[in-house]
Amino acid sequence: MPARPILHYPHPMLKQVCAPVAAIDAEVSLLIGDLIDTMRAGPGSVGVAAPQIGVALRVCVVDVSASRHGRDNNHGLLVMVNPEIIRREGGAVMREGCMSVPDYTGDVERAEMITVSFLDDQGRAREVDASGFEAVAVQHEMDHLDGLLFLDRITSLKTGLFRRKKYK
């Protein structure tokens, strides 16, 4: 189960809506293994989604337990098949970067707390309440399953505060 190369935008795979997984068969299990290995291989990476390694299926992995922002508040390794966010609360802004869009970062507002339902690697239905950085990471990876990059979410220029004044 090797780490696989991360696709970079403009690879068309990154802009397509992925298909739900019908059954967790041997192929999907291999994919999950590859996603975990790819995440572990990326420097400081806390998540990878299947389309980032060239598979258009609704599978992603998240693990923020080793990161500074997530080490005190996490569920360890989350393997999420067909994830859906069933509740969102609050909002917080973080400056995000993405392995599929190198050399660029931007401020993105996302829900601060989410409840996400999914199937785990054994096909068991699970629900997890995530908050803080883990919630951000889950939302970022899940966006990949819908062909969305953080570039689609940047809502304001850094100078937004200064746009209101009218010059007389």
Binding site: P43, G44, S45, V46, G47, S67, H69, M94, R95, E96, G97, C98, M99, D103, T105, D107, F133, V136, A137, H140, E141, F150, K158, T159, L161, F162, K165, Y167
Partner: protein, 187 residues
């Protein structure tokens, strides 16, 4: 001193003039005609002036004079000031900061020396300002100054270090100062 006939692959171009529609379109058209690529750019309106800073490149070396010539007609028509700085090869690369990135917000009643004192303290500690906006807001009777900057800290320095560093300026300048991390998270 570089002769005007000297050629290069990269230039820094700044364009400033009274704001009106068509400045970006005109600049972009001139660069497109030259076959230049706008690599990085930032433009904004300040005090009714529109200012553009662009790093432009070309696949084959060409001269600053050629660049200025292409801008001449459009610049004169819109009464713009155009400056071109030739970039040597070693000026076109820069290291991405590896330390923490912080945002510093400073605001309070307007008075001389706010930018000077804040920037001075940061510079003394080797903290590099990467982005800065200032604005005079409020009323004529009670002008309020707002300063927002982003700075890259040297390796090992923390957000708390910056908070402590700027703490004394709160009293000295009678301003509010906030420091928060904007270090990107990699996902």
């Amino acid at each position: 001193m570089k002769g005007s006939g000297e050629t290069a692959l990269h230039f820094a171009v700044t364009i400033i003039g009274k704001d009106r529609p068509g400045i970006v379109a005109g600049a972009a058209e001139a660069l497109y005609r030259l076959g230049c690529n706008i690599e990085d750019s930032s433009s904004t309106m300040l005090g009714g002036e529109f200012a553009m800073i662009l790093i432009v490149s070309h696949s084959r070396p060409f001269s600053k004079a050629r660049l200025l010539e292409e801008f001449k007609a459009f610049g004169e028509k819109l009464q713009l000031s155009v400056f071109v700085r030739t970039l040597a090869g070693d000026e076109t690369f820069h290291d991405t900061p590896t330390g923490e990135l912080c945002m510093v917000s400073v605001y309070g009643s307007d008075r001389p020396g706010i930018v000077f004192r804040v920037a001075g303290e940061l510079a003394e500690q080797g903290i590099n300002i990467t982005d800065m906006n200032t604005k005079l807001i409020g009323t004529r009777e009670e002008p309020v100054y707002v300063l927002m900057l982003e700075a890259a800290l040297p390796d090992g320095a923390s957000i708390e270090d910056v908070t402590r560093l700027l703490e004394k300026l709160k009293k000295e300048l009678n301003v509010e100062i906030g420091v928060r991390s904007v270090t990107p998270v990699s996902l």
